[in-house]
Symmetry: C2
Subunit: 474 residues, 2 copies
Amino acid sequence: MNAPADLARLHPAVAPRPVPESLLAALRERFGAQCSTAMAVREQHGRDESPFDVPPPAAVIFAQSTRDVADAVRLASDADVPVIPFGVGSSLEGHLLAVQGGISIDLSRMDQVLSVNAEDLTVTVQPGVTRRQLNEELRSSGLFFPIDPGADASIGGMTATRASGTNAVRYGTMRENVLALEVVTASGEAIRTGTRARKSSAGYDLTRLMVGSEGTLGVATEITLRIYPLPEAVSAAICSFPSIEAAVRTTIQIIQLGVPIARVELIDVNAVRMVNAHSRLSLREEPMLLMEFHGSPAGVQEQAETVQAIASEMGGNDFEWATTPEERTRLWTARHNAYFAAVQSRPGCRAVTTDTCVPISRLADCLLASVDEADASGIPYFLVGHVGDGNFHFGYLIDPHDHDERLRAEQLSHDLVSRAIAMGGTCTGEHGIGLHKMGFLIDEAGDGAVAMMRTLKKALDPKNILNPGKIFSL
Amino acid sequence: MNAPADLARLHPAVAPRPVPESLLAALRERFGAQCSTAMAVREQHGRDESPFDVPPPAAVIFAQSTRDVADAVRLASDADVPVIPFGVGSSLEGHLLAVQGGISIDLSRMDQVLSVNAEDLTVTVQPGVTRRQLNEELRSSGLFFPIDPGADASIGGMTATRASGTNAVRYGTMRENVLALEVVTASGEAIRTGTRARKSSAGYDLTRLMVGSEGTLGVATEITLRIYPLPEAVSAAICSFPSIEAAVRTTIQIIQLGVPIARVELIDVNAVRMVNAHSRLSLREEPMLLMEFHGSPAGVQEQAETVQAIASEMGGNDFEWATTPEERTRLWTARHNAYFAAVQSRPGCRAVTTDTCVPISRLADCLLASVDEADASGIPYFLVGHVGDGNFHFGYLIDPHDHDERLRAEQLSHDLVSRAIAMGGTCTGEHGIGLHKMGFLIDEAGDGAVAMMRTLKKALDPKNILNPGKIFSL
């Protein structure tokens, strides 16, 4: 990786553009109490779960409608001022930081489920709806939205980062599950991409261009998603293994046999210990797979039998079944809290997280080499993974005031990403590029592809006002 | 629909740009015998299965490598001359027609399967590989590529049109199954989009932007696809129904219950008759569903029982099972030959085909109204559909010399598309826009979205040389 990118990973380029007083006046006039310039509000909207500290945006607009978003973008565009869409603030990669200044557009009040089309298995929501809220509202219909990145993220944020998480191995990611969007463009115009049809060959795939564009090409104001019938039968199980390798090789074989497993999550022994401490559990302190099976009763049993046979061959212990919904919820809550459990295990620390995803045949090689390196570093860390997709996360728990430790963690991350890219993988399976992985994107995609991305950005946002300075420098 | 679009559907705007003799000389020098200006070769590359007649391209380059494609594009770009990628010529929408002149780049000699990564369930191919060839080459590995548009199309062409077909209800379309591409851009540079990782959040989704762009944004020279383990058990069945409505309502219920059926194809009584005559079959002359189930033996049986119960409730006859691979092949070949069987049923005719796709809840309303209109018109027609996706095709069999009949067929098509769009559907589920559906794209996507597509096109192809005049006028 080149040196400037290394520096960018530690210190993003911060160059706030001027925000004229006339813009703030116009925003106050248009938005009244929906516009805040209070420092506490600005600071809350100027940070996320990334390890960066950057000055906050100049103002926050609490949008309540597409019209609000369009007007805010138009006013900002007239003044050449950046806008940064904000959902719940759970980005890990610095997406929400005002590195070029500007205003934050908070979408959390756009929290309506606009329509549930149960017969078509689609739902249309505003971007501020969170995934848990959506599933609450769907519950009575016998349907659910499977994408589950752990955090109770907003659907808008999940769309912007092309999120996925624990169920993606069976149900796909936001790439596969966003059918259509309403998007406010850089000029403040609302357009629609896609229809509610399951498939289409009607022109360029603007929906997929917007999904994962991290707020740099438009602001999604309505999102149409695929939803699924709640499976007739669900069962979850944990299985401990004598080594990470045994757990990973079990996963690889499950996938290669085509078992339609719904979730298969790796949790390393460090993460098990942290989760036990945080969630008052007594999970066996060994590497484990946390699995879930969806289907008909017979289908679930068939899947579970196949997986148990594979696990047993690899030295796995007996499955411990979580048969009631309450037990399942407790297990998955523990898994989802792994990040917070880890951060709390070292008071005052921050996590440098990785998000590599490799072809499944390379998963063991890639992951095990990085475990060795992390163990050798002496830096506390945890490892969890959506291993059915070949995606896993190290979290290196660093003292943010210890420059040397931070550098060593970044070196671990760098070595892991380089290995993943060399193996045909990606630097980010689901978190996005943001500020933190801009150098890696060049390594992975190459100058030609990144140049094409820049060309698209310049064409759709000629004033560079939509979340500028993210994905690539511009 | 606006009047100019109506005219475009009958007579595409043809305005050949000059092809300087110096370009032809340069192509001959660079490509030798791989460059042909023979009229027979040009004419073969200047038509497809669409009902349009347009003057042929000025030359045909038979590319054998990415380098060949890049050099051909660069030479054409230097002379401001269009290039049109050509696979096997099976487009139904005029994609291959040289409406602005230029040269055809024939990719059929780039027919190598470059790598099969069985453990990762991926394969990388050159664009001239056809789907049947690919499955032949995969057969010994126990894997298969499910996307099946009927014609033995090239993978490059299927990528360009975002093709799908009979298996999409279970396995998705080219949108879901292309993982990565090598693409030659308008400047003749080769870039890579995507990796072999199953998922990624690394920047803009250039892969999905290229898939379905109909050769207007780049020429795919390598394509990495998802492949699947051959199912342990496969069974196919046909079921006749007293009415199209009964067949469609059976399909809707199968999908809404979440049955993972692999194929569910509607064939109307006209198509059954034509197929019987063409393929010497004796299928019962009633509307029918042709279905296939993939899975474990127990899973397949479970699916089949569920579907039989639904069909029986809707008045369907008993299933007739095709249990041997030979019987299945015969059935699916008959289905795939429906188009040719239909065209041969009226000597000298051409087919005006439709490709609407609607949300499944609207399928019966949309389809039945169009059946009534087609019956009332007196024009011979057939109807087949990938109804599990809400996608179906009318083929109106017209005398190409009968202007009035052509107009009436276009009116039927227009009324159907308008109905589908009003129901939240799309004018094209899998064939693409090409020349024939440009007016419909505006109706469906709106001026704002089409303007965004034009902006993208101008940014990536400033000289407008990549298959110009397709998707939208430019």
